[in-house]
């Protein structure tokens, strides 16, 4: 073992660089793309966004003849095209949660904070990289879902809607924006709760449990309160129509962005103060 018994020379580093926000972002990109679990979550999100509308459109098309006028009136082509968003948001939320809780559960966070002891650049980088990836990842699926479901429904003129029709392009792209924001919201929850199961449960509570619970309130209270929930406010991003019981597109979008900003702000506040 002569190689071992000799003192090994550590190769020197020729130049030394400082930590910059851009470099931390590059590090986070490397982290994101090098995990199989995140790749699976992404795959699931993409698949659900495309397959559910296709399935929904195919069923609608094949059963159209046997549907009552009432049922037919209930089918809106844009709802069909964006049916996957409601489900794939869970995959994106899990992804957002894992981006941060995965580091706490494995201890990676200590390595991350040793490299970037100011900590906040890590949160900003995670959020930004994840937001860009989530949007670019989900934009093609919502577009594919729209055109594929329209193609499947091509025999039914009443279910045809043009992409150039006012508000349609905005709603379809809004679906991808919504998924991106849901991911950011979940990332913030993950950074606050720091535990995968707890963070996913918290997210599911806010998005899937509280909204139906609102129905037990007297209906005028329900209508007054429900539209301000994160899920309802966010929904306006991909809704073509807005009624008295929902916020307008602008108000809903602003409120949902506000919720996201709030969770990230709380996460940032706690991040620099808590022990790891």
């Amino acid at each position: 073992m002569s190689a071992v018994s000799q003192a090994q020379q550590i190769p020197r580093l020729s130049h030394t660089g400082r930590v910059t926000q851009l470099r931390v972002a590059r590090s986070e990109w490397t982290k994101l793309r090098s995990l199989r679990s995140t790749l699976w979550s992404m795959f699931a999100g993409v698949l659900l966004t495309i397959l559910l509308p296709v399935l929904f459109a195919a069923l609608t098309s094949s059963h159209w003849g046997s549907m009552s006028p009432h049922e037919r009136a209930d089918r809106h082509p844009l709802d069909i095209a964006l049916a996957g968003v409601n489900v794939s948001q869970l995959a994106i939320a899990v992804l957002g949660v894992l981006v941060i809780t995965g580091e706490y559960s494995t201890g990676m966070i200590r390595a991350s904070f040793t490299a970037v002891p100011k900590r906040l650049p890590v949160l900003w980088a995670k959020t930004a990289v994840f937001a860009v990836v989530a949007f670019l990842l989900m934009l093609p699926p919502v577009l594919i879902a729209f055109f594929a479901s329209q193609a499947i429904l091509s025999r039914h003129h009443i279910l045809q809607i043009s992409f150039s029709h006012s508000g349609v392009a905005r709603s379809v792209i809004g679906g991808a924006v919504y998924l991106m924001l849901v991911g950011i919201f979940a990332l913030g929850i993950g950074a606050i709760v720091r535990n995968t199961a707890g963070a996913i449960a918290t997210f599911a509570g806010i998005f899937f449990v509280i909204p139906p619970l609102m129905n037990i309130l007297p209906s005028n209270w329900n209508h007054a309160v429900s539209k301000y929930l994160p899920s309802e406010a966010g929904r306006q991003l991909f809704s073509l129509t807005h009624d008295a019981n929902s916020l307008s597109l602008g108000a809903g979008a602003r409120l949902f962005v506000g919720y996201c900003a709030l969770t990230i702000a709380v996460a940032a506040f706690l991040l620099v103060r808590r022990d790891t």
């Binding site: 073992m1 071992v4 018994s5 000799q6 003192a7 090994q8 020379q9 550590i10 190769p11 020197r12 580093l13 030394t16 660089g17 400082r18 930590v19 910059t20 470099r23 931390v24 590059r26 590090s27 986070e28 490397t30 982290k31 090098s34 995990l35 199989r36 679990s37 995965g102 580091e103 494995t106 201890g107 990676m108 966070i109 200590r110 390595a111 904070f113 040793t114 490299a115 970037v116 002891p117 100011k118 103060r273 022990d275 790891t276």
Partner: protein
């Protein structure tokens, strides 16, 4: 480096008013029994945990205030700090990116720690020893001026232990500050130039390893001679020398080295049959030193059992 460092976890006191400085160019061993606060001190240095009181700086600055922390300090922490789903290569690459360090450096270090063949495997599948090697690679990534390792030989095979010992000595010889914790006195006596010993979060000793060994052995020399009375007279002429009879023709001498005793005997033309410097085992010395400060003692457990 550290001044009055104190850390409580709730009611639990982990580090208590600890002050010390670690010198460059030396290997400083950080010793203490289980639960004495070594790992906590290291987390406080890296500002992963915030101290309850006191202050700790590195090269004059708080760790957080360094613009390129990985060039200042490379650390191996006690608990694994690697995402189990990521490969060793990507783990190091992600850390390297934060400081604009290139892929070549990552490859160099993977070769250096001997992880070449498994660099693309998920770190979660690594053995304890492979995990330690990956941690050491991460610590050396930024070519840091200070290296801080928490029980680096934990889980390493004898070859690995030898490798770490040479590595640490080499790093110190290059003028770097090397701060390494252990609860194995024997390992530290071979590696460290300087020792800081803590017990229950308090500093017990801060001295060179040589000094520690000298104090531990107590300078005891065993002498056997047929001319007992004459030798006793010859030796007792010096100050602070004690000679205790330990059997027929057998003495324990304190305050003189074996060399001094041999020369005194020769000068007086006395015959010696035995001349043996006694080394108290370092492990024993360490235990004596920290006896009152051990968090979990076997004796405590026994007496508790007796009460029950």
């Amino acid at each position: 480096m550290a001044e009055g460092l104190t850390k409580y976890y709730g009611e639990q006191r982990a580090v208590d008013d600890l002050s010390f400085t670690v010198q460059p160019g030396l290997v400083t061993g950080f010793l203490g029994p289980n639960g004495s606060g070594k790992s906590t001190t290291m987390r406080l240095i890296l500002e992963l945990d915030a101290p309850t009181a006191g202050d700790v700086t590195l090269n004059g600055k708080h760790y957080r205030d360094h613009t390129a922390p990985l060039h200042e300090v490379g650390a191996l922490l006690e608990a694994r700090s690697v995402h189990t789903g990521r490969s060793a290569y990507n783990h190091l690459l992600a850390l390297a990116h934060t400081h604009g360090i290139g892929r070549r450096r990552v490859d160099e270090l993977i070769d250096l720690v001997g992880l070449h063949d498994v660099a693309r495997k998920r770190a979660g599948k690594f053995s304890l020893g492979m995990g330690q090697r990956l941690g050491i690679a991460a610590a050396l990534l930024g070519d840091p001026s200070t290296i801080m390792l928490d029980e680096p030989v934990n889980g390493l095979d004898p070859e690995g232990i030898l490798w770490v010992r040479h590595l640490l000595r080499g790093l110190a010889a290059e003028g770097r500050t090397v701060f390494v914790s252990s609860h194995l006195m024997s390992e530290m006596s071979l590696t460290a130039d300087h020792l800081i010993v803590i017990g229950r979060g308090r500093k017990i000793a801060d001295m060179s390893t040589e000094e520690f060994i000298r104090q531990a052995s107590g300078g005891l020399v065993l002498v056997r001679t047929p001319q007992a009375a004459e030798l006793r007279k010859a030796l007792l002429s010096g100050p602070d020398v004690t000679v205790t009879a330990a059997g027929p023709g057998l003495f324990e001498v304190r305050g003189l080295t074996a060399v001094q005793i041999g020369e005194a005997a020769a000068a007086n033309q006395l015959v010696l049959h035995e001349l043996t410097p006694q080394q108290a085992s370092l492990e024993e010395a360490f235990m004596t030193l920290t006896r009152d400060d051990v968090e979990f003692k076997a004796a405590d457990l026994e007496s508790e059992e007796a009460v029950l």
